[in-house]
Assembly symmetry: C2
Homo-oligomer: 350 residues x 2
């Protein structure tokens, strides 16, 4: 098997404070209250598609132990540590060169660690379809989520549906990437049927992405190219620590996707959410009869509707008479905030 999975797990999840903190961001938390963290759920989705020795996690140096603890089945050497945050392009370049050093024929999926997928069988079908395509081509494939609302918080991918379908009527050439739109533009996008949300999930062969970095981002490719003899040795971490900070901080979307030629989108509809807001967590979670999401601890509610209550396991919580409120409790912090004001939480946490 040449399939490799790369899980990017370096985010800090500041919008979910105090549930998510810089010490333990949301990918390391059982956000859905199902007994598995978002990182573990991400790994679970790929079980059988990728052997454990081909699962890679790129994360901040401070989260390395947490990854090893939550995913004990993957080799420790597959946990790559970023000495500093440099957005997704250097992160993906590092792991791509690292994989290439070991398996030049690798076929890769790159995914965030903190998203949710409701329909896992459909997700797996789409991933397999995309992997088959990149196995036989130099394509860069991104998954495009079928939009269900004029969301202004996501970037959009414009597909060229009029072009001949490239594979099984499922994969299309990308016309353009569009940044987060205003409401009017988003409404126009979703009235057409060729705009999709950019989920940040990519499929490509390792030679394709490495070549793309060489062509479009020499400032990023050169340091990783220079370490060919170091990957997998005891000197790897120290060498990475020396070059990483000098990489430009740039997303893979800007660095590669918007520049490369052979870019494709695989539209998909598997109940995806980036869990970017408490509102999206509410939407994707199990709700009681009164539309409350109750996660963790021993929670009792009375005359309470449309709330999210998220607390640590040991906590006993009684809530009476709230409507549309987030109650989040962790360690030495308690947040109570109206759901419609959740965009202020980042300020509250400072």
């Amino acid at each position: 098997m040449n399939n490799h999975l790369v899980i990017m797990a370096g985010g800090v999840g500041s919008r979910f404070w105090p549930m998510s903190t810089p010490e333990r961001p949301k990918q390391f938390i059982d956000v859905l209250g199902c007994g598995r963290t978002l990182l573990q759920l991400t790994y679970d989705r790929f079980k059988g598609l990728v052997p454990d020795e081909n699962v890679w996690v790129v994360t901040s140096a401070v989260y390395g132990d947490m990854v090893a603890e939550q995913l004990p089945m993957i080799p420790k050497k597959n946990i790559l540590l970023e000495p500093c945050r440099r957005n997704t392009a250097p992160c993906i370049a590092y792991v791509s060169w690292r994989i290439k050093a070991q398996d030049p024929y690798a076929n890769m999926v790159v995914t965030p660690s903190d998203h949710v997928v409701m329909d896992v069988p459909e997700f797996r079908r789409v991933i397999e379809s995309a992997l088959s395509f990149t196995l036989e081509s130099d394509a860069i494939v991104t998954l495009g989520m079928k939009p269900s609302r004029p969301e202004t918080g996501y970037g959009y991918i414009q597909a060229d549906l009029s072009s001949a379908s490239v594979r099984n009527n499922e994969i299309f050439r990308v016309d353009s990437f569009r940044e987060k739109p205003d409401v009017a533009t988003a409404k126009r996008y979703i009235q057409q049927n060729n705009y999709f949300w950019n989920a940040g999930i990519f499929i490509w062969s390792v030679s394709t992405i490495v070549n793309a970095f060489r062509v479009y981002q020499p400032a990023i490719s050169e340091p990783f190219e220079s370490l060919l003899k170091v990957y997998g040795t005891d000197g790897e971490q120290e060498a990475i620590n020396q070059v990483y900070a000098d990489c430009p901080s740039i997303s893979v979307d800007y660095a590669i996707m918007e520049k490369a030629e052979e870019i494709f989108v695989h539209p998909a509809d598997f109940g995806w959410s980036d869990l970017g807001t408490w509102g999206s967590l509410h939407e994707k979670s199990h709700k009681d009869l009164y539309n409350n999401v109750l996660i963790g601890g021993d929670i009792k509610v009375y005359e309470t509707h449309n709330c999210i209550i998220h607390c640590t396991e040991e906590k006993r919580v009684v809530v009476q008479g709230l409507d549309g409120v987030i109650v989040a409790e962790k360690d030495d912090t308690l947040l109570i905030c109206r759901l419609e004001e959740e965009q202020r939480i980042r300020t509250f946490s400072e």
Copy 2:
């Protein structure tokens, strides 16, 4: 000085759950956020009126150490331990016989440990006035609070204002004790000027109260009379443990006040509250510009009005968009409840 102070500190404060728990009831908590517990504030009010060696605390055996910790200045032997709860009459009988064994001329004030008084100088003036009266008479004096609203949660004392004033136009004979009234009756009471709230604060000489128990409650007086040789010795606790459970569980109001002849009321107005409800705590506490009471921890509020937020010192709390809500957090428990529904808290805690 023959003045003695008796603080009754055996209550469990279940209405203030989870701030108040059976392990640490409200008298042992800094409820007002002023740096002193209600027990300590009760002691503070009598400073200078009663020497420390004449301060007595009667409490449940399990709270003895907490009393000693919070009032280190009083002799340990003055902390009397009830082996079980038997309401106020046996409690007062025990401490009265105990004091009499040591000081037959004692003049006593008996007070709950969990009330608040806003105007302490006026409180002290009233206590001194009552003590002067009982020093020279066999009177049983109870303080009667000038009612400010038709409260149905308190008992009322009907004073005989038409009778000749007994002392300084301040102390009057009691016509009758009235149990907690319904609203209509309470409204009638406060339209007249001779009904007062029964605050449960009593003043009498030790010989008066001991005689009253002998006359009206022989079942209570006899066991304590039988222990005259034991008080103050190493055998006291064991002897008390043997007789205490056999005492009838009865309040001093039923046992003595409603039966005895020489009962007087000292009307008073010193900003008293029994802190029997979260509402009364709200009323008596310092409030911010938006009528919020914020006690303990690091509490920040936004668009929040008419709330009580009470948490442990270490807690960081952010509250946005609440109105008229109690937020109480302690150890492993969090309560959020509308103020107008606070009577249900006892049920929530079960």
